[in-house]
Structures are given as structure tokens and as C-alpha cells.
């Protein structure tokens, strides 16, 4: 018989409580990473206090457009996905794998056995929580560096009550409420009754941390208010992606004319792959110092938009922009399902916002669907 799972009753804290929660995380030894305003954007960085959270800031999102805007309230988490994602910390952009030194018999290889930092992620949006789970499926091999870092992470998610203009997490089943995988999840409320956070608890560690600060049990009314704010957010997605038969659509669209249309706009800059919270591809780079006696191997984020990505002796496999955009989209939405059992997209909209040409994958998928249907046979409808 399965054991009965009892989830504790959600609690309520106010802004001071959020500050106290932050202090507890620091006291327990976590490096707290969270959103903060820097260089005209809301970035993820190590924070020294909750005061550094972007209180009162929101964002306006559109294809190729990201602007901070002053909110009418003091919400700390009233913003959608920013330019960075948590992969920056779990799957760093550059990492040394090992170093080698010339020796009498040839060379020796050594690694650093440094303990990974213990991170607390404060303010993980539901789409990004799903993105972390997707990267887990790809990268969390037993004993890997990713797993070492990932295992110790304390996650405070934030349910989404205000999606941005490029958001479509509902289409991807990744939001607006946080799925499994958090220790604590906040729902931010800024109504008449003051600035408060409903806190859901989903782990021993979460309960332990929350137990160290003052909180009160959530009353029915507040609970209802919070749940309904999240539910309503689902009706306000800026974008929609039709996921029906997506895997087969992409597998069957290799020769679609629409790829040429995208290729005319795509600069193959790779921004979408850098901003994407699930894109995981890396390259390795071997270096030596000037003496030639010391060599290192570095791993760095790589992008399928780079011509060298598919390099074989004699030339690259995917040289045309058409083939490189097709590879990215087909992998993200299609063959990812073959490889890892789910779509690789969480609907955060970053690739739309940070594409300098404003390419919108939801539009591209719509066009592919349309081309497929138009090619499907005699039943053309010109009305």
C-alpha cells in the first residue's frame, strides 16, 4: 500500500518575513541567488539581502524587446523571465574539466575536488522550475559535476500571477503554478490586506527553514485569493503554442519551404540558445599556456547555430541558416521527445524576447502547421 502523503498547510509571511527567510538561508550557509535590477534588466545574481530583490519593478516583453517598467505596487516578483536562467549556476557557461602537466613519462592529469557552492535559488518561476527538471533529465548523471551542484540546491519557487507578453507556459504545461521540485513556493499578494506571501511547503528542508521564522497559518480567504490569482494568470498568456502532433510535425517538416522564410530573418547569432533555460549543448576546448608544459580542458556552452557545431573533417554538416534553425527548433520541440521523453520547451518566451530579429517560435510553429495542412491534400480551404 502506498504511504499517505500529507502536505503541510500553507503559511503566510509578510515582506519582513521574506527578509527573515533570506537571513535564515544565509545563516544555514547558502549562497542566495535571486533576481535583482542590474544594467537595465532583471538579472540573477548572488544577493546579500532581500532588499536587493526588484521591489516595484516589472518588465514589458515583446519580440526583440525587453524593457523594465515601474510597477504600481511594490511586488518583488512581479516580472517574467529575464535574460538569464538558473542554468547559469547549475550548468555554468565555462568550466575547467581538468588540467594536465608535462611529466617525465608524458603528462599527468589532475582535477580539482572543490566542493560546489551550496545555492539557494530564491524566486524560481514555474517555467524555470520545469526547465531545471528538464536539464536534470539530460545532465544529472550519477557522479557528474552537474549532479554535485544540483543535489544541494534549496529552491524557493514563485508562482506566476502576471505572465509577460511573450509567455506561453500554459501551452507547455509548465505553469503558471509551480510543479514538483521546490522546497518552498511563494505566491505574492499585494492587495488591500498588505504585501504578503503565501508559502507552500514541499520538503523537510523547506519546512525546517520556514520553521525558523515567524509565519502564520493561511486563512481560507487568503488561500483562495492566492490560488485564484495563479489560476487567472493562466488565462493571460501573451502567446500560445499549438503542441498537437508537434513531434511528428517537425519530423515531417524537413523539407518545408518555411525554413527558408525563417532563414531570411535568422542571424544565426545563437542568442536563443544562450537565453533558453533548457539548451544544454557544450563544446570542449583544449588550451596550453605559453610554456607548452601545461594544458587544460574547458567546457563551454555551445550553440547549434554555430557553423562549427556540426564540423567534421572536410566541412560542417549544417552550413545553411535554414538547416541550423531547423535543427534547433526540431530538437527543442520534436526530437527532444525521442531523446528525453518530453518537449524541451517550457514556454518562458526568452528566445522570442532575446532574438535580435524578433523571431517568434510560436509563429514559426503556426506557419509549419499551416504549410503541413496546405500540403496535406485536396481539402484546401481558401475562404
Amino acid at each position: 500500500m502506498e504511504s499517505q502523503v500529507t502536505i503541510p498547510v500553507p503559511r503566510l509571511i509578510d515582506v519582513e518575513g521574506l527578509g527573515a527567510l533570506f537571513e535564515v538561508l544565509v545563516a544555514v550557509g547558502y549562497h542566495v541567488i535571486g533576481p535583482t535590477v542590474q544594467d537595465g534588466a532583471i538579472v540573477l545574481a548572488e544577493l546579500s539581502s532581500a532588499a536587493e530583490l526588484p521591489f516595484g519593478w516589472g518588465v514589458s516583453l515583446e519580440p526583440a524587446g525587453y524593457r523594465l517598467r515601474q510597477r504600481g505596487d511594490t511586488a518583488a516578483f512581479g516580472h517574467a523571465a529575464g535574460p538569464q536562467s538558473w542554468k547559469r549556476f547549475l550548468h555554468p557557461p565555462r568550466e575547467r574539466l581538468w588540467s594536465a602537466d608535462r611529466s617525465q613519462d608524458g603528462f599527468t592529469v589532475s582535477t580539482e575536488d572543490s566542493e560546489p557552492p551550496r545555492y539557494a535559488f530564491l524566486g524560481v518561476r514555474p517555467c524555470d522550475l520545469r526547465a531545471i527538471a528538464l536539464q536534470d533529465r539530460v545532465l544529472a548523471k550519477p557522479g557528474s559535476r552537474y549532479t554535485d551542484r544540483r543535489d544541494g540546491v534549496f529552491i524557493i519557487a514563485v508562482n506566476c500571477t502576471e505572465p509577460g507578453g511573450t509567455c506561453f507556459c500554459v501551452s507547455m504545461g509548465a505553469g503558471p503554478g509551480a510543479g514538483p521540485g521546490f522546497d518552498l513556493a511563494l505566491t505574492e499578494l499585494t492587495g488591500d490586506q498588505g504585501h504578503r506571501f503565501l508559502v507552500d511547503i514541499s520538503s523537510e528542508e523547506g519546512a525546517e527553514v520556514l520553521g525558523r521564522i515567524d509565519s502564520e497559518p493561511a486563512d481560507e480567504h487568503t488561500l483562495e485569493q492566492a490560488r485564484s490569482a495563479v489560476e487567472t494568470a493562466g488565462d493571460h498568456m501573451g502567446r500560445h503554442l499549438d503542441t498537437t502532433g508537434l513531434r511528428d510535425l517537425l519530423a515531417g517538416s524537413h523539407d518545408a519551404a518555411h525554413w527558408d522564410d525563417v532563414a531570411e530573418r535568422c542571424l544565426t547569432c545563437g542568442n536563443c540558445t544562450m537565453a533558453c533555460p533548457t539548451c544544454f549543448c557544450t563544446g570542449v576546448e583544449d588550451t596550453t599556456d605559453l610554456t607548452g608544459d601545461h594544458a587544460e580542458r574547458w567546457e563551454h556552452w555551445d550553440s547549434c547555430f554555430d557553423v562549427d557545431f556540426s564540423y567534421l573533417h572536410g566541412g560542417s554538416v549544417r552550413t545553411s541558416p535554414r538547416s541550423r534553425y531547423r535543427q534547433w527548433l526540431t530538437h527543442k520541440l520534436g526530437s527532444w521527445q525521442d531523446q528525453f521523453g518530453s518537449s524541451g520547451c517550457v514556454g518562458c518566451g526568452r528566445c522570442i524576447v532575446w532574438c535580435p530579429a524578433g523571431i517568434d517560435l510560436t509563429e514559426e510553429v503556426r506557419a509549419l502547421h499551416a504549410e503541413h495542412e496546405a500540403d496535406a491534400g485536396p481539402g484546401r480551404d481558401w475562404s
Binding site: 594536465a100 592529469v109 536534470d136 557522479g143 557528474s144 549532479t147 557544450t282 570542449v284
Partner: protein
């Protein structure tokens, strides 16, 4: 109050295997030039050896300070399988450095990675090997394994093609294999006046070499276009696509299905390949820039 939580936190923790990104140190124990640009190296472990490769698997070979490339294992010979045989053609900076390695030099080896030829699926049947150029290197372990158990197979046929007689790899071994009971047929694209043998593409030898297509397992390696044409010729002649195996190449970096470089459609070739059945490969290798 005792509270139960979903067990998501325990999911990741497990006993770590040896780190697959760390190269094992090997020393060049022997070096045999095959052609102008191709060299076979015999490598002996200087420390902990890698696991014994199965025929068709590949390793990542590292030369100090230069870099690392994927190379199919062309034999794992004596000394209890500890000697690793790798045949390398100089086509870039790393492979040039590997070809220039001399006995006593140290190299790094990671692996073995990927799928194997599944030689045993040819047991009791005709075993047909079709090789183009250095494509014979990953197939050498197939021939060695089959010839070591000669009576387990009916005919063992090798069709080997090269651009010119001087580009033939393992030229000295071809005769030995013939003596040990393989039917070895060689062709070159361009012969010279001293070449007594066949000229033409290796695909041209296939029809004649097949005796009983429905009881034949075929193993094909060479340039991608040669594999495609050979596998198609075999399929057209009646060999089931699932019993034709080809060895595909993409840009392998990590060998552990983590870096994404070697994708071919749904396959991550360092894990799902390099050796795949033609039934799986056919829809992928016939698409441009996939």
C-alpha cells in the same frame, strides 16, 4: 506531526562511476604506417586501462596540448586485451599530431563509447563486410572476431575499396585474412599500370558477392555516401535493412550524450551509434544537412 514529502530530493544521488571526461594515460607501444596519411598505433595503458572495447566502439584520443578526436578502435589485441589498436588518418591538427606520435609517446584515451557491430547476429550465416578507405579500420575487429571463430559462420566475405592501391589500409593483413578463410575482394577507384586487380567502386562488387541475401548480415563502413549506396544496394538485393549495419560519424565531443554535438535527428550518435542498423539510418542519412 510527522509529514511525508514527495521523494524528489533523493532522485539524483547515486554511486558515482569513474569520471568519463578524464583521459586514461596510454603509451604508444608500436606504430605502423598504413599509407601516406594513415597510421596504426598500438597503445599500452600507463595506468588504469579503459574497459575492453567491443568491435565498432570508439575512443576519444588526446594528444597533449593539441586536442582530442573520436577514433574507432581497429583492434584490441594481446596482453589480455590491454593493448588498444587505433588507426588514424591525418585530416586535421589533432589527427596529424596522433599520426606523428612515436613509440614511447603518451596519449590520453577516453571511452570506449557507443554501440558495437553485433557480430554475433551473423552466426550461422554469411557475413559480409563492405569497407571504403579507412572505413576498414572499425571493421577490422569484426573480421578478427569472426575469423577467430571461423566455423561459426558460413561465408566470410570482405569487399574493400580504396581510391588507389597506395591508399589500401591493412594491405598486408588482407592476404592473412584470405588464408584464414575469408573471401577477400579488393577494388580501387584508380589503378596504375602495375595494379593487377579490380577497378571501380566497391558498391559494384556487392551483387556478385551475395550468395544468400536472406541469410546474410552485412557490416558497412566508409564515406557516408558510400555507406548509403552500399546499404541501398544490399537492401535492393534482398538483405533485410535491420541486418545491415553502418557506422556513422558526427562531431563527437563528450562521448557521453551530454554535449549535443553528434545529433543526427533523434539519435545522439556517441550513445545511440556510431553503429546503427540501416533501418534506423536510412531515413536520416538521406536528408540533407540533418
Amino acid at each position: 506531526m510527522s509529514t511525508d514529502f514527495p521523494a524528489w530530493r533523493q532522485r539524483l544521488t547515486a554511486v558515482p562511476p569513474p569520471p568519463p571526461m578524464l583521459p586514461a594515460r596510454y603509451v604508444v607501444a608500436g606504430r605502423r604506417p598504413e599509407t601516406d596519411d594513415t597510421v596504426t598505433l598500438m597503445l599500452r595503458p600507463a595506468g588504469e586501462p579503459i574497459a575492453l572495447p567491443r568491435p565498432g566502439q570508439f575512443t576519444m584520443l588526446y594528444t597533449f596540448g593539441v586536442g582530442e578526436v573520436p577514433v574507432s578502435v581497429s583492434g584490441s589485441g594481446d596482453a589480455g586485451g590491454q593493448v588498444l589498436v587505433q588507426t588514424i588518418r591525418a585530416v586535421g591538427a589533432v589527427t596529424r599530431a596522433l599520426c606523428a606520435a612515436r613509440p614511447g609517446d603518451m596519449l590520453g584515451v577516453r571511452g570506449p563509447f557507443g554501440t558495437d557491430w553485433q557480430v554475433s547476429q551473423a552466426r550461422g550465416q554469411d557475413l559480409l563486410v563492405v569497407a571504403g578507405g579507412i572505413g576498414l579500420a572499425p571493421l577490422r575487429p569484426v573480421l578478427l572476431a569472426a575469423l577467430a571463430q571461423r566455423n561459426q559462420y558460413r561465408r566470410i566475405v570482405l569487399l574493400a575499396g580504396a581510391r588507389t592501391p597506395a591508399d589500401l589500409v591493412f594491405a598486408r593483413e588482407l592476404r592473412i585474412w584470405q588464408q584464414r578463410g575469408a573471401d577477400v575482394r579488393v577494388t580501387v577507384d584508380h589503378g596504375d599500370s602495375s595494379w593487377p586487380g579490380r577497378t571501380g567502386l566497391v558498391t559494384g562488387l556487392i551483387a556478385d558477392a551475395l550468395d544468400d541475401p536472406t541469410a546474410t548480415a552485412a557490416f558497412v563502413c566508409g564515406p557516408e555516401i558510400m555507406m548509403r549506396l552500399s546499404a541501398q544496394a544490399l537492401a535492393d538485393a534482398g538483405v533485410a535493412a535491420t541486418r545491415i549495419r553502418v557506422s556513422l560519424e558526427r562531431n563527437m565531443h563528450c562521448g557521453t550524450a551530454l554535449c549535443g554535438h553528434c545529433q543526427l535527428g533523434p539519435l545522439l550518435l556517441c550513445r545511440d551509434g556510431p553503429v546503427v542498423s540501416y533501418a534506423d539510418a536510412a531515413p536520416l542519412v538521406t536528408r540533407k544537412e540533418l
